[in-house]
């Protein structure tokens, strides 16, 4: 099921982003008087097609991994005398630059739009309150106390954990990092400079917070039951929601971890439980269920605990009026753009390993995960991927939009199109680079599964 959600949200996400990107090329091409022969979302066999008055054919094709806009071009096909002024290659180089640049540009505009919608609808998020700092970790050198609220990382303000994660990430490979915090709302800001030389971060294994030894505040897990699975061992023993587990087989249970540990080591054994129900101790008897994993069989009950309620103001909703939402969306898009470029730079300098490159499978999983959390999260995810798509497409690699732009800028200076023979050299370099980087990304994806 989660596979199906991933697949569908991936296709929807990619479809939207490709359509948006190609529409940018298409719209500006039309404005510039270039004849567009086909506007295709997806490659390969056409599933649906339609023609408009201007002779453009709209196609939805079978392989949803991209799309294209086919413009009239003398280099590709025969062009009749009367159509010559409408051929792409006959346009002034500035017009060609505009048409090519429009694709990535629209990706950025779309990101602003998606984030704008997200801020209008409202997004629930969590204030960066420090839960604890692990001993002997990168953060243990700082004097940040428990319950401190992070306010700034580097020279950027942070309001929630997502901001903090992004800003921490931008410090990969740096020597030190400035962090500011307050004790509570009224006290003044303090700051600490964290030495990052001991920081080792492998995104496959740990979260960015764990790698630094900074544990976000989470409400305590209580011994009070929340949900009882239908048909589970817990149900047949007679557990009910809101029961507080006091002891199992006479051993008193201090916390939830202890309960989990006790149950999982006793598959298919009988158990006697004392629970507090309506302020009275009730004794329950029955047999613990089991779940067979790859190697071991573990005891399994089929109940979940409840959490202590979040303190006032820690969970809050990002929701703004039209003007504020727009300015927030623009700020965030800009930050995503600069962050993507910083990360690419770190990839080239080797501060970020190519192991962290993600390919289509990871994107699909991200799409599925965010979609299952709800529309607002999916919008945020779309904005992120849209920005990435725009930035990647602007890389000066022939084959990509940025490669074409590079050729046109050279033409702007040399006054003459880059010879096709030289373009071919560029396509070879770009082709090899892209093919190998994509292979690395896909291999990484598979290794992560």
């Amino acid at each position: 099921m989660s596979f199906l959600i991933s697949l569908v949200s991936f296709i929807v996400a990619l479809g939207i982003l490709v359509a948006v990107h190609e529409w940018g090329h298409f719209w500006v091409a039309r404005r510039c008087g270039v004849k567009v022969e086909r506007f295709s979302i997806g490659f390969g066999k056409a599933l649906w097609r339609r023609k408009d008055k201007l002779g453009t054919e709209y196609v939805i094709a079978a392989i949803p991994l991209g799309g294209y806009v086919k413009m009239l071009d003398e280099r590709v096909d025969e062009v009749s005398e009367k159509d010559l002024p409408h051929a792409f290659n006959r346009q002034h180089v500035l017009k060609r630059i505009a048409i090519i640049a429009a694709g990535p540009a629209v990706n950025f505009l779309f990101a602003i739009f998606a984030l704008f919608m997200m801020y209008l609808i409202g997004l629930q998020t969590i204030k960066p309150v420090v839960g604890s700092i692990e001993p002997d970790s990168v953060f243990s050198q700082s004097n940040i106390p428990q319950n401190a609220i992070l306010t700034q990382v580097g020279d950027r303000k942070v309001v929630d954990w997502e901001d903090v994660a992004y800003e921490f990430m931008s410090f990969i490979g740096n020597a030190e990092m400035l962090v500011k915090w307050t004790d509570d709302k009224n006290s003044y800001e303090r700051s600490a400079t964290i030495n990052l030389s001991q920081w080792e971060f492998d995104p496959d294994k740990t979260s960015v917070f764990e790698s630094l030894g900074l544990i976000p505040y989470r409400p305590k897990v209580l011994n009070v039951l929340g949900y009882i699975e239908d048909g589970s061992a817990a149900q047949s023993i007679g557990f009910q929601a809101n029961d507080k587990i006091v002891s199992l087989d006479g051993t008193s249970m201090q916390n939830w971890e202890q309960i989990v540990g006790y149950v999982s080591t006793r598959p298919n054994q009988t158990v006697q439980a004392n629970v507090l129900r309506n302020e009275q101790i009730v004794s329950l008897n029955g047999t613990i269920g089991s779940k067979t994993g790859e190697q071991t069989t573990k005891g399994y009950m089929g109940f979940t605990p409840t959490l202590e309620p979040w303190p006032e103001g820690v969970v809050f909703v990002h929701q703004y009026g039209v003007v504020k939402a727009m300015s927030k969306a623009m700020d965030k898009t800009w930050r995503l753009m600069t962050l993507s470029i910083e990360m690419l730079g770190k990839l080239i300098t080797g501060d970020v390993s190519v192991k962290n490159l993600s390919g289509p499978i990871s994107i699909a999983q991200g799409a599925g995960m965010s979609a299952s959390l709800g529309l607002v999260y999916f919008l945020g995810f779309l904005a992120l991927i849209s920005v990435n798509l725009g930035i990647i497409n602007l890389l000066p690699l022939p084959v990509l939009d940025g490669g074409h732009l590079l050729y046109y800028f050279i033409e702007l200076f040399s006054g003459r199109p880059v010879p096709e023979s030289v373009q071919e050299v560029g396509f070879k370099i770009g082709g090899v680079l892209l093919l190998l980087l994509m292979s690395i990304a896909i291999v990484n994806d598979i290794a992560r599964l």
């Binding site: 071919e424 050299v425 396509f427 070879k428 082709g431």
Partner: protein, 287 residues
């Protein structure tokens, strides 16, 4: 023609293989110098030299420079404590710069070509910049880590040859089998988009294989891929560079030395760009 071409290749390939793997280093230096000399002989015609004694003098000069270099710098001192000799490093840097200039010349051609078009001396110097760094590059790669593993340098040479030839061979076979869409029908009718992609695939495969073979560290894979891709591209540039000079001189094949292949330069034109640029990157970032 194709048969002749294959026979020539079948004779030359084992010779080259033997020379790269087993020839003592000094003999290897001399042999590569002779190949550069043959290339220089042909380059002299492309530079507009016509009289036999000027052409011979030019070829001998190239061989002499290579030999002088090999005499003043013994093979065991080419790399000293993991560093390439500074003279050789300079030569490779100049070569890298020359290929940037060459790219600009090709893009601008025929604009500004009047500057060098009429000057035999300038065109002769371009030949120097093409051939001597190639010798330096091949020798530097061959002697790299020689005292650790005498075949390591040979493997680097095979790697560059692999990248360059895989591009050609992949393009040829994929082009023949699947070629449908012509790249530039009026200029080079044999080339197709499918062929171009075949070449890209084949070279990528070699680069990926090398990454596994040399056990490139994940943090340096990016560099490995970049340098590999650069070698693929720059080898095509070597081809274009030679074509440009041939066009100036109004000749088709650089010579007739290799039956079925044209001249020596026609065979090594890609390599004269790929070797110096690869060696430069190797010395700067990878050694």
């Amino acid at each position: 023609m194709l048969k002749q071409r294959i026979i020539t290749a079948l004779i030359l390939a084992p010779l080259a293989l033997f020379a790269i793997l087993y020839l003592p280093l000094f003999s290897f230096e001399i042999m590569i110098a002779i190949v550069m000399g043959l290339g220089a002989w042909e380059w002299s015609s492309m530079s507009g030299m016509t009289r036999t004694y000027t052409k011979s003098a030019y070829a001998i000069l190239v061989v002499a420079v290579c030999l002088i270099l090999s005499i003043i710098l013994p093979t065991d001192l080419i790399w000293y404590q993991g560093q390439l000799n500074s003279l050789y490093t300079y030569i490779l840097s100049i070569a890298a710069l020359w290929w940037v200039v060459s790219l600009a010349m090709i893009i601008a051609y025929p604009r500004y070509s009047s500057v060098w078009y009429t000057s035999k001396i300038l065109r002769g110097i371009f030949g120097f910049l093409t051939l001597i760094p190639t010798w330096v590059a091949v020798v530097s790669l061959r002697t790299s880590l020689y005292d650790v593993d005498p075949y390591y340098g040979a493997s680097l040479i095979f790697y560059v040859l692999g990248i360059v030839w895989a591009a050609d061979i992949g393009a040829f076979f994929v082009g023949v089998k699947f070629g449908k869409h012509k790249l530039r029908p009026e200029v080079s009718p044999g080339k197709t988009i499918e062929g171009l992609m075949g070449g890209v695939f084949a070279s990528s495969a070699i680069i990926a294989f090398a990454a596994l073979h040399y056990q490139v560290d994940p943090s340096r894979i990016w560099l490995h891929v970049l340098v590999g891709a650069l070698a693929v591209g720059v080898s095509a540039l070597g081809d274009l560079n030679e074509s440009m000079f041939k066009r100036c001189a109004g000749i088709k094949d650089s010579g007739t030395l290799l039956p079925g292949h044209g001249g020596v330069m026609d065979r090594i034109d890609s390599l004269t760009a790929a070797f110096p640029v690869f060696a430069f990157c190797y010395v700067m970032w990878m050694a």
